[in-house]
Amino acid sequence: MYGGKVRLVVKNYPYRYRDFAYPAAEAALAARDQGKFREMHVLLLERSPKLDRGSLIECAKELKLDIPRFTRDLDTMAHKKEIDRDVKLAEGLDLYTTPTLFINGIKIAGDRPFESYREVIDRELPTSGPEGKGK
């Protein structure tokens, strides 16, 4: 719908008291390193909250990732620094809830119906309103 007009940047803000929040973030970044971030991102959202170690490795297999490499990343939390950096950034922005979105810097905190995101996105797209063909 917004192909080519919208960019989504993903920051991990795993809640520390959820068992699989950190491993799932690690899985996303490990897949990113293997060129399959988008695919893993979608899978994780679909499978959530069933994101135990076995399920994460199953996702990696479905995406035909290098499994020994993926498993090593998962078990050593190879991207912990990057995740912690995101967490620090989130805390610095006083975020307490996920998901929190910044649409061209406009903050929308908490789970909202898709329509409320769309409204802001449409307002930010100069050439296409809801009826726009998007030049």
């Binding site: 699989f20 996303a28 998901p99 810097g105 406009i106």
Partner: protein
């Protein structure tokens, strides 16, 4: 008794709100850095999403 002055200030504020169709929005500067992203770098709209997959 409350001073009248503050009430007229409140009324003035309301008038300002009525005059402006949309309130001025705060825009945060959230650095994308090298975080994973989907979509073109030159997109008109950039969404930075903080999420917890679980």
């Amino acid at each position: 008794m409350r001073p009248r002055k503050s009430r007229s200030a409140s009324l003035l504020l309301l008038a300002l709100l009525a005059a402006a169709p949309a309130p001025a929005e705060v825009r945060y500067n959230v650095p994308a850095g090298d975080s994973p992203a989907i979509g073109p770098a030159n997109a008109q709209v950039t969404i930075v999403e903080f999420l917890d997959y679980q």
